[in-house]
Symmetry: C2
Subunit: 337 residues, 2 copies
């Protein structure tokens, strides 16, 4: 079976690790081998101290490859912060973004390869070659695009003549901790971006398309916004099943409600499903999983034409994430055409 997922960082990475664990179980039971292609959001990427940092690609790569710091959810295990302290001692900004000494090596290699002319997809493949996930399922990591398409968030700013200003998503998310309202989300360069090599093929050739519980606006939304991706999904034979990143009216991780509000979407499991839309009505989803505590959303989602089930969606550990993946694949079989 060939599975293709559209993933952001931490939530997506943890779901995919559960998925690979579940697929390993299946391979042991059935002898069937599987393949997973992960199309990863790159709209969070930024230049930091002259280095190209790709937070979501790295989080997925480290998580699946066994190098992640599991408590933080991002960055490397057994990390140290000597270079960061030195950069601060030099007075170099930004000081609000954590680049660990181990993590730095990834950005240094990436930047050097980009400087040599390799596209991000080739760089990602080279980096991933070291981080081979220890699963039976073959894993491929694709950036959504080799082009620069960067999410900016418009916030109020009384000191600006326009009363507003746009900040890079990472600055909004990490430095400002999404504590002020996001008035608008703008993905600079997205209209001119093209899908990275392999992206459209991975969608067209998939047996199942999965939307992990990633941020619907700044993770999955930016992938869907790359011209050609939505049309490829619309034309794909595979069923599309998503998992709600919102449980009980709150995002599971972080501050997704801030950017949901910016696009006029309530922080509820059914509102996110409605935002993605029913595939039968030109939207994304054939199936949608909401948390057991959101049972009341099931009828609302189904009324809009999306098959919906409520199951436990809290990724408290890898087995919990694996069970979610099993539910998602069950639903995919059910809604498969």
């Amino acid at each position: 079976m060939h599975l293709t997922a559209l993933s952001g960082g931490i939530g997506g990475a943890r779901f995919l690790r559960g998925l690979l664990t579940h697929l390993d179980d299946d391979t042991r039971r059935s002898g069937r081998r599987h393949a997973l292609t992960t199309i990863v959001n790159t709209a969070d990427d930024m230049w930091m101290f002259g280095l190209r940092v790709c937070p979501d690609l790295d989080t997925v790569m480290y998580t699946l490859g066994g190098g992640i710091d599991d408590d933080r959810g991002w960055g490397r295990a057994d990390e140290s912060w000597q270079a960061k302290a030195e950069l601060a001692a030099y007075g170099v900004e930004p000081s609000w973004f954590g680049l660990g000494d181990r993590d730095l090596a990834t950005h240094i290699v990436r930047t050097q390869m980009l400087g040599a002319g390799y596209p991000l997809s080739a760089v990602t493949a080279a980096l991933a070659d070291r981080w081979r996930p220890p699963y039976d399922t073959e894993v491929r990591l694709l950036p959504m695009s080799d082009d620069r398409a960067e999410t900016h968030v418009v916030v109020d700013d009384e000191s600006s003549p326009a009363g507003r200003r746009a900040v890079h998503f990472q600055e909004y998310w990490v430095r400002m901790r999404a504590a002020v309202p996001a008035r608008e989300v703008v993905v600079v360069g997205q209209a001119e971006a093209t899908p990275a090599p392999g992206v459209l093929d991975a969608i067209a050739s998939a047996d199942v398309l999965l939307v992990p519980p990633s941020n619907p606006v700044v993770s999955v939304g930016t992938i869907l916004g790359v011209p050609g991706v939505q049309a490829a999904i619309a034309g794909a034979a595979a069923p599309v099943v998503g998992l709600s990143p919102v449980i009980g009216g709150r995002p599971v991780r972080g501050m997704a409600d801030a950017v949901l509000a910016a696009v006029g979407v309530d922080a509820t499991a059914d509102a996110v499903a409605a935002h993605y839309g029913a595939r039968s009505a030109g939207g994304l989803l054939d199936g949608w999983l909401v948390d057991s505590s959101d049972k009341s959303s099931v009828d609302v989602v189904e009324a809009a034409g999306v098959v919906c089930r409520s199951v436990p969606l809290l990724m408290t550990d890898v087995p919990a994430a694996a069970a979610m993946a099993a539910e998602a694949l069950d639903l995919a079989r059910e809604v498969g055409r």
Copy 2:
């Protein structure tokens, strides 16, 4: 008093630290304030993992600023090597050059500033602004040039059609440990290089010009090779006093005899003086200090027109280096015109 020195890395840095210690003593005794301009060799600089590394500038900056690892003589104290291990795990070459996690920050800041268009001299001033040497004497660090002039060493290579090949000095010195004969030393780009802003002024306005016990070929020689520097020294009012980096027929540090042989100079204190030449005969030196164990060289050097004294030249600790500096300044007064 304004002192100007032409310095390489470890030997030069340790001498200059002794000099600053001696000048502090003088300031405490006499109330006189001094200023030191150090013109530093940049022909060892190289691009490493896409980062601009300036070994001699950093060694001088860290040594005078109190951040050096004193045992190694280069790099930062309390250093860690996580990023280096990660770069090796990615299989990225070169693996033979040690970039510590703390040290990396310096190269990252430098590379970012160079990329933004600042010349190396401005970058060096910005970096040095953090590393203010804790001495009464004002210290200024100047790269010999903002232009790229890189030392390459020609070595035998039977696998090459020409039977020889050129390697970057750092590769010859660090990876090959100067274990094969250096057939030629070529400073690529030197003929087109110009002195960095402030270099010629620092020579012209100096009260004393010092040549620390640095490598005569690949450290001091490359500075002298920047077009305009030798003429500035010839026209300067200040006496020029040097200290032999060779003691008892062997370089004090490292493998300087390998590159001395490439330019046809014996590894003796008097041969190095002859290589620099007497200023009265169009060369560099008014005065020259040799080690106490090289007393027999004194007459040879003086016969060639350079005033010579034998004094202890082993920089076993900071007071020893300070005593050497005191001797050099005594000799400068003696030969001063």
